[in-house]
């Protein structure tokens, strides 16, 4: 800005071009609203200031390392980080050698404040995406946040993954049902960050994702009774009907953000840093982010089939000469 002032100080008069008459209709040709919006809101004891940029971003990028919050935290492994992803990439290269970019719409930066003893403390900052769509690749070593993965698949596949004990009649019965009568039905389950040793939800520096204790399968198109029966069996300690339900994050080398079947983008994706638990608000939803670095991939953000969940998702090509391919 200073440079502009100096230049303007030294500019001579301007020369005007030839005039042409314009009519009133042409006079209303100025649009006022630009691409920056500054909003202010309050919720849950916090005040938020949000700067939204009306941008459509398409990108293909690679990074050796994305690491946030590398500090010692009680109850966590020494040397771990809140978020650590190596060989991180957004976007991918398809079989025809075309770059399929990661798309972001309306990114924003939001600051959270809390008034304590008359002083306004800055307690959190987040970078959010109004909408996001595309492939996110990486070796996820540690993840802190809220990841809601929708699992889906047919009963026949699920039953093939169930290994029942010799005398476990309940398990055998369930397996027969899942693989038989419900063999062609589409099952659904929700997975989130868990502690692999006990199946409890573990949103801080998690290394595994899966069905947390107490969660169960459902058949979205099934009847009430079907889902009632399914509700009787819930995942415990990373097992549901003798099926493994927790998996290391490093198996999932490429995640599809958004719905790759319908092409819908994921809304509410954000990366935040806060000094205490902060409830960030998106539309009507409040997501409470824990202290430190936090990544939020909301419901509908990632949809994965059961086979992918069990076997992992291979990494997509992200470079034209790719160390994982060539």
């Amino acid at each position: 800005m200073k440079a502009v002032f100096i230049i303007m100080m030294l500019l001579p008069q301007f020369v005007w071009a030839a005039l042409t008459a314009i009519d009133d209709a042409e006079l209303s040709d100025m649009t006022g609203q630009a691409f920056i919006n500054l909003d202010r809101s309050s919720s849950g004891g916090f005040d938020f200031t949000k700067v939204t940029l009306g941008l459509d971003v398409k990108t293909s990028l690679n990074s050796d390392l994305v690491e946030l919050g590398r500090y010692e935290r009680s109850g966590e492994v020494a040397g771990s980080s809140d978020i650590r992803i190596s060989d991180f990439a957004l976007g991918h290269i398809n079989d025809q050698g075309e770059i399929v970019p990661f798309e972001i719409t309306d990114p924003f930066i939001e600051l959270a404040f809390e008034t304590v003893n008359g002083r306004e403390n800055l307690v959190g900052v987040r970078l959010g995406f109004g909408e996001a769509k595309g492939k996110l690749s990486g070796n996820i070593e540690y993840l802190t946040g809220n990841i809601d993965i929708e699992l889906y698949g047919t009963g026949s596949y699920l039953s093939s993954q169930m290994s029942c004990g010799f005398f476990d009649l309940i398990c055998e019965g369930a397996k027969a049902l899942v693989g038989g009568a419900w063999g062609n039905d589409e099952f659904a389950a929700n997975a989130s960050l868990v502690n692999a040793s006990n199946g409890n939800p573990d949103p801080i520096r998690a290394t595994h994702v899966g069905m947390p204790n107490g969660s169960n399968l459902s058949i979205p198109d099934g009847g009430g009774f079907t889902n009632f029966l399914l509700g009787l069996f819930s995942s415990s300690n990373c097992e549901l009907l003798s099926t493994q339900t927790c998996f290391p994050l490093s198996l999932y080398r490429t995640l599809d953000i958004g719905n790759k079947d319908t092409g819908a983008a994921a809304e509410g994706l954000f990366l935040s840093f806060q000094t205490k638990n902060v409830g960030w608000v998106d539309g009507g939803t409040t997501t409470t982010a824990s202290e430190g670095a936090f990544m939020n991939i909301p419901n509908g953000g990632i949809r994965t089939s059961f086979p992918e969940a069990f076997n992992g998702i291979p990494r997509a090509r992200t470079k034209y000469v790719d160390p994982y391919f060539d």
């Binding site: 630009a34 809101s41 398409k58 990028l61 500090y71 306004e120 470079k319 034209y320």
Partner: protein, 351 residues
């Protein structure tokens, strides 16, 4: 002797008269000719520099208007950012209170800011003259960062494991050439003042940053390098009057080395589209392979050579924050390393 007198006085006079009557047409220089231009540049040093402006500095008005915003989801209202203070000064500015008699010298006589027309052959834009506006060069042309590498367990080659140290001797700016700068602004929506936000950067060096611009196919292309080194960036909020300031969020030991664009191979363009919205683009690397293998990668030697060079020597970004400290608590370091952009398109639209 006589011949010498003639040569020295009459001949020049004769040619001088010739020059006075010569009437030659001007001919546009070809790009290739311009590409041979490599003239002197202009070095710029700001000696004992102080800049101090703002509503609370000398009174008056200093504001940014024309933005819109909402309060608690209501209707769009006018947003005014009143700038209470914006300053650039020397060390020890104490968050803007010690500015006026605290100057800084930006640039060094042997490492000045530089405006120059460089030979494009040397910077990846062959047969063109490239306009370059550069911050003081580094004392040693190397990265500020030292990396510890690790082998890929499932792929080939190595990647960055962590940043293991810093080459502080790479920078040419000394403490007397590093500025303190800061801004304090008040947020006002629909006529009501909501808060004051302050940002202060200490001892900032920007050695090695530059902007290069050239023309191609009728539009402007460029290449950017942004380097920032600062021991402290602080943010904090105060009440509407600028008092009762809350806890400071302090980003300590921040270093950013970011490059965008790779000469003619991957130019950066900034244009306004036909609809009046701007488009910022970092060129796509698609189509550089002569032939592809089954998974979309390069299989021809020339293509592989180009991409191996790009991934090894091409534009990279490294961002490092040594520690985030809030109210006495430390939240550790953050790193983004070896970030390379193969394609970026940013288009604006009205909200």
């Amino acid at each position: 002797m006589l011949i010498r007198i003639l040569t020295n006085s009459v001949l020049p006079l004769f040619f001088l008269l010739l020059c006075s009557f010569t009437n030659a047409d001007l001919v546009a220089m070809e790009d290739a000719d311009l590409g041979e231009v490599d003239g002197e540049g202009i070095g710029v040093v700001l000696e004992d520099f102080v800049y101090n402006a703002g509503e609370q500095v000398n009174g008056g008005t200093f504001e940014i208007t024309g933005l819109s915003g909402r309060v608690n989801g209501g209707g769009q209202q006018n947003v005014v950012l009143g700038i209470s203070q914006f300053y650039i000064a020397g060390q020890g500015s104490n968050n803007g209170s010690n500015v006026d008699n605290n100057p800084v010298t930006l640039g060094r006589l042997n490492y000045p800011f530089n405006i120059e027309l460089v030979d494009g052959d040397n910077v990846g834009v062959p047969d063109k003259a490239v306009f370059e506006f550069a911050a003081p060069k580094k004392a040693i042309d190397a990265s500020y960062f030292n990396f510890a590498m690790e082998n890929r367990s499932e792929g080939s080659g190595q990647r960055v494991d962590r940043i293991s140290g810093f080459n502080t001797n790479v920078l040419s700016s000394r403490t007397t050439e590093r500025a303190d700068m800061g801004i304090r602004f008040d947020l006002e929506i629909g006529g009501s003042r909501f808060q004051s936000l302050e940002n202060h950067i200490e001892s900032l060096a920007i050695d090695g940053s530059y902007t290069r611009l050239w023309g191609d196919s009728g539009h402007m292309e460029g290449e950017l390098a942004v380097n920032l080194y600062t021991p402290s960036i602080e943010f904090f909020a105060c009440d509407a009057a600028g008092n009762n300031c809350g806890a400071t969020v302090d980003f300590q030991n921040v270093a950013i080395e970011a490059e965008l664009g790779y000469g003619e191979a991957q130019p950066v363009t900034f244009e306004v589209g036909a609809d009046g919205n701007f488009i910022f683009e970092v060129g796509s690397l698609q189509g550089r392979c002569g032939s592809l293998n089954g998974t979309g990668g390069c299989s021809d030697a020339a293509g592989r050579a180009f991409f191996n060079d790009y991934y090894q020597n091409g534009p990279k970004g490294n961002i490092y924050i040594g520690n985030v400290s809030v109210g006495g608590r430390n939240y550790g370091s953050s790193t983004i390393s070896n970030l390379q952009i193969q394609y970026l398109e940013v288009k604006s639209h009205d909200l």
